[in-house]
Amino acid sequence: MRAATSNAGDGVIGAKDRPSNLTGASDPEVAQWAQHGHEPAFRELVRRYERPVFSLLYRMVRDRALAEDLAQETFIKVLNGIKSYNPQFKFSSWIFKIANNAAIDHLRKRDLDTLSLDGSPHATTPEEMSATALQLGDRGESPLQEVEARELGSAIERAIAKLRPEYRACILLRHVEGHSYEEIARILDLPLGTVKTYIHRGRNELRVYLEDRKA
C-alpha cells in the first residue's frame, strides 16, 4: 500500500537529480537520496543490508525472532537518523556499529538476567562449553527452534557460538563480512590492537573447537 502512494520527494527533487538507477548507485549516493526524503532510497538501503545485518545479529543471539527484532530496531534507528549520516564514512560501518551495539546490549542484559544458567557466551571451562553445546543443539521443540537448529547447527556455526561475543563480532565482521581491521575498530569503538588480538584469539579458539570435534 505504501509503495503505491506517490513519493513525497518527487515534487521537490528535480527530475534531473533523481537517481535513474538506484540499484546501481553507491551506498553514500543512496544514503544521500534518503537524506533528501526519497522514499525508494530508504527501501534500497533496507534491501541492501537486511541479510548482512540480520545474519550478524542472528549469529550473535542465535534466536531468529529476537534477531529480527534487533534488526528492525537497527534499521529504524539508522533510517530515522539518516540525516546524521556522514558520507565520508562507510554506510556499512555505521549500520553494523548500531547492529552490534543492539546485540551486545541485549546479551549483557540477558547475562544479568540469567547469570546462573549454563550456555553463557562467556563459557571458558570445558564444562561450560559442553553445557553451551548441549543447549545449542538439543532444543528442537518449536518449528522455529528446529529451523534455528538446522541453520546454526553445523560445526563451524557451533564453534562461532562458543566464542565470547566480542570475539564473535570481530570474526564475523572480518571473515564473513570482509571488513578491514581499521573498519572493525571503528564499528566496535575499539583500539586497532585490541581488534587484532580478538580476531587472532577468536581464530585460535575456532581452530581448537573444530579440531577437537574431529579428534
Binding site: 513525497a8 527533487i13 530508504f42 540480520f54 528492525q72 533510517l79 530515522n80 587484532k196 587472532h200
Partner: protein
C-alpha cells in the same frame, strides 16, 4: 636479534599468506618451516569455511515492517541550493 628468515610468521602474516598476499621475502621462511606451513594451512581452511557461511534472510516482508516505522524526512531542495 633473530634473522628475518628464521622468524615464524605472525598471525597477520599467516592471514596475508592465506590470501596470497605474503611478501616474497617471508615466503622463503614458509618454504623452510613446516610448522608455519601447517599452521598456515589450518588458517586457510578456517578462512574458507568462514567465507562460505550463508547469509540468512529475515522473515518475508521485513522491508515493509521497517518502512512502516520509519519517518521519511520532509524532502528538502538542498540539491538546488548547493
Amino acid at each position: 636479534m633473530t634473522e628475518p628468515l628464521l622468524q615464524h610468521l605472525t598471525p597477520d602474516e599467516l592471514e596475508l599468506w592465506a590470501q596470497g598476499l605474503l611478501p616474497a621475502a617471508r615466503d622463503i621462511h614458509l618454504a623452510q618451516c613446516a610448522e608455519c606451513r601447517a599452521l598456515g594451512e589450518r588458517e586457510r581452511k578456517l578462512f574458507r569455511e568462514l567465507a562460505r557461511l550463508p547469509r540468512f534472510a529475515p522473515e518475508f516482508g521485513f522491508v515493509e515492517r521497517v518502512m512502516g516505522r520509519v519517518r521519511i524526512p520532509s524532502p528538502s531542495n538542498e540539491f538546488e541550493n548547493r
